[in-house]
Amino acid sequence: MENLKTELKHKIINVLNLEDVSIEEINDSDPLFGGGLGLDSIDALELIVLLDKDYGIKLADPKKGKDIFQSIDTMAAFIEANRTK
């Protein structure tokens, strides 16, 4: 699970173009949205694509994204439980 969390931090920085952010700055339980990362609605949509592309998870209800993407912890837990890749 720890590896997955680190992997997620790398991916988020990469996919969402968080150029000035290092993985040390992202704490596992910090809120991803409404926190210091400045993520917006387009980023939320990109994370849905990331779930599909890298972990084979197709989100049936995109509105569930709000809960899943609360933090690295919640994201990792969801992926562990549902990944097909």
Binding site: L16, N17, L18, E19, G38, I42, E46, V49
Partner: protein
């Protein structure tokens, strides 16, 4: 720099306050090179220019190349001044084709079909104008034209209409052309 004047049909004059040119990894403002890079790729040049201009605007890194080009040019002219009455009128030849091509690549293969919303949103040329409006809080007249070549007369005529009708006090006007590694921005501030 000597301001340049235009005569229009009503014998009124417009003034070009400042101008910025970006091409070949150089940023030139009013004939003075304010930044130059050895970078060969636009993406590297843009990153270095961002640092050199101390922009401190993380959203810059999410922009596509056309928006980065337009944004950098606008930054040098708009700076921290109040532009709540400055319209934006831009044009280019390649529209958003640089990003269109990248987006198309993400949907070409049925097996690897992952359309990206962050890329798709930039498949419209006027987004670069939106990015500038957002950074500088410019709730002002906007327009984006696609022309075969830079037509300064047309852009100035269009801008003059906006100024004369009182819809804006200044116009940020220019040509922001980019396709892959071929790019040129020529942007200037106009007023009556």
């Amino acid at each position: 720099m000597q301001p340049l004047y235009w005569k229009n049909a009503n014998v009124e004059f417009m003034k070009k306050i400042n101008s910025c040119t970006i091409e070949h990894s150089k940023i030139i403002v009013n004939d003075e090179v304010i930044f130059e890079s050895q970078a060969e790729l636009f993406s590297d040049f843009a990153k270095e220019a961002y640092k050199s201009l101390h922009l401190n605007y993380p959203k810059f890194h999410k922009m596509d190349h056309l928006s980065k080009l337009a944004f950098l040019a606008a930054e040098t002219l708009l700076q921290e001044d109040d532009h709540s009455s400055t319209a934006i009128v831009f044009a280019n030849r390649s529209s958003s084709l640089d990003t269109d091509f990248k987006y198309q690549e993400s949907i070409n293969s049925q097996e690897n079909y992952f359309p990206s919303p962050a890329v798709f949103v930039y498949t419209l040329p006027n987004i670069c104008v939106g990015e500038i409006s957002i950074k500088h809080h410019m709730q002002t007249e906007n327009a984006f034209f696609v022309l075969d070549e830079f037509d300064e007369d047309f852009l100035n005529d269009y801008s003059r209409q906006i100024l004369e009708s009182g819809k804006a006090e200044k116009v940020l006007c220019g040509w922001t052309e980019l396709y892959q590694e071929s790019y040129k921005a020529f942007v200037y501030l106009l007023t009556l």
